[in-house]
Amino acid sequence: MSIQRFARAAMAGTVFAFVLAGCSSVDLDEQKPAPVVDAASSSPSTGAAPDSRAVAPVDAQSARSVEPFNDPASPLYKKSVYFDFDSFVVKSEFQPVIEAHGKYLASTKNRRVVIEGNTDERGGREYNLALGQKRAEAVKQRLMLLGATDSQIETVSLGKEKPRAMGSTEEAWAQNRRADIVYK
């Protein structure tokens, strides 16, 4: 939606809300331009009452931040479980993370999560994909022991394809041997 078109449409008396709706559908790469707003065919609403033009702003990010898993003070804020080399064992130090999310999911059955397994860079891509899957599955099994259900949890693997830490150091590898609990 070009500024010129916006101005033209607004000046022609098009409903403001209609223009906004058009803006939201504009493809980012403009491969599919939104339909040109035709003043002549738009609905005759120029006489609408002033309140119908009110806009209540909502910030999607700040709305999401009120969710407990996005609150830094909540035990649900930590969503990563780290693993030893070539291991799928959820270490005891991550039991608080498991318990927080397991109990939350058990008590909030409409919540869905994806658990993403990751590995360090050593070894083959497909085999690492399977290793990451095993880590995600291990976390899922622990969450289900606490009452979360199978239908709430999808496990996927990113293998070694999306490292959080770059580089070929023990430190980077340890950061990347990880399963993340991602709320949907």
Partner: protein
């Protein structure tokens, strides 16, 4: 260009630039080919400059020489600057004296419609006999293909085996932390074209047996999903997009069935499904990881990676299901199995002492041979004639492609000017 370095056998490392010409329309960076090992016996051959009547976008003889040199089986003898007309009898004794046991000559003529008429002849300078000759009319803009086809004819006449210079390869380039491209290039790395660009990873491309489609794993939706992509049209379809992860596509030899790894029932297990999607049925049943399926060329068996015995090893099972037998026994980490076209050799990546190397196992004798001089190898793939293996590795912290002959003697490296290159797969012969 570095053509004149090819016939220097003393050079420990000989570099042949794959980009013999830069086509303005192609913006992708050309791969660079470096030959790091040659065969124990090399056939000496001279490729004379082709007779031509105008400037050409591609110097045919340069492409032919580079192809033959890269195979490691030929030594290119300096041919001088004078073209040899096709209707004249070559001075065999002179060529023999220069050390060339064979001589190829040719011509390129621009036709009125803009196409090119390319002719070539191959002579045995010892027997003073004509071995081969061919004529092909080629559209303008693709003179590398007839050059590769001439190299294939020479290779086949002199070695008795089919050449692979006119085949194509596919591979993945990561150009930044958020940019991946699936490329298709000529077997020498020239003419790279992007079949797919994505802001998420792409792995495990696999050619359909007829070379028209690629199956691969794309993470574009945030998780691994298997797609089948028709190369010529760009049409693509998510054929395995089940709950969990979907990966490791492998084509059956008849092109009708895909073996894939799915996690919809828990850990990674091998399933079969129709190549156009649907009818997924589980093939393996272990408690651990079963992945990386690969059909034997006769379609009867599937080789795969499994950690059912502890560490990952290669197993074999009937393609219609049944008990699996362990195939690899050396070392504690053997992955990514691929069968040679004749079904006699198994290539895989084995970890030995912390080094990841492509190994070749003779299935009849049990003899295992490491075939590379690199230590972070991945994704071996046989050339369609079974002579070479293409694989990914890392040198100086960058992903590159490399090839090795099945005996490990002939080695080349293909690297781009930037970006990590990985996940190569060698395409089939095109009929």
């Amino acid at each position: 260009m570095t053509e004149n370095t090819i016939d220097r056998p003393s050079a420990a490392r000989r570099t042949v630039c794959a980009a013999l010409v830069s086509l303005p329309a192609v913006s992708l960076a050309q791969l660079r080919v470096e030959i790091t090992g040659v065969g124990s016996q090399q056939f000496p051959i001279a490729i004379a400059p082709f007779v031509r009547d105008s400037q050409l976008p591609v110097e045919i003889e340069s492409v032919v020489r580079a192809d033959l040199a890269r195979s490691g089986l030929f030594r290119i003898v300096e041919a001088g600057g004078a073209p040899i007309p096709l209707n004249a009898t070559p001075a065999f004794a002179d060529w023999k004296a220069r050390g060339a046991d064979a001589l190829a000559i040719g011509s390129v003529t621009r036709l009125a419609d803009g196409r090119f008429d390319i002719r070539y002849e191959l002579y045995d300078t010892v027997q003073q006999a004509r071995l081969d000759g061919a004529s092909v009319v080629s559209p303008a803009g693709n003179l590398r293909l007839p050059a590769h086809q001439i190299a294939d004819r020479i290779y086949e006449k002199l070695t008795g085996e089919r050449g692979v210079f006119a085949t194509r390869i596919a591979y993945v380039v990561q150009t930044s932390r958020t940019a991946w491209e699936l490329h298709i290039a000529d077997a020498d790395g020239a003419n790279p074209q992007a079949a797919l660009r994505s802001r998420e990873p792409i792995i495990s491309p696999a050619w359909s047996p007829d070379g028209s489609r690629l199956a691969y794993v794309s993470f574009e939706t945030g998780k691994p999903v298997v797609y089948v992509h028709t190369v010529a049209t760009g049409a693509r379809k998510a054929v395995a997009n089940f709950r969990g992860s979907n990966s490791a596509p492998a084509w059956s030899p008849d092109g009708k069935t895909l073996a894939v790894t799915l996690t919809r029932e828990g850990n990674s297990q091998v399933f079969l499904m129709n190549a156009d999607g649907g009818n997924a049925r589980r093939l393996t049943t272990s408690n651990g990881i079963d992945t990386e399926p690969s059909f034997s060329p006769d379609g009867q068996s599937i080789y795969f990676t499994s950690d059912r015995g502890g560490g990952p090893q290669v197993y074999r099972m009937p393609a219609n299901g049944g008990a699996a037998q362990r195939v690899t026994f050396n070392g504690d980490y053997n992955i990514s199995p691929r069968l040679s076209p004749d079904g006699k050799l198994l290539a895989y990546v084995g970890r030995r002492g912390g080094q990841f190397k492509v190994h070749v196992l003779d299935l009849a004798s049990g003899q295992e041979t490491p075939v590379t001089d690199t230590v972070r190898d991945e994704s071996p793939s046989f050339a369609p004639n079974g002579r070479m293996l293409l694989y990914a590795t890392e040198v100086n912290g960058r992903g590159i492609l490399a090839s090795a002959s099945i005996d490990g003697r002939v080695r080349t490296r293909l690297s781009g000017p930037s970006g990590d290159i990985r996940e190569p797969t060698w395409g089939p012969f095109i009929k």
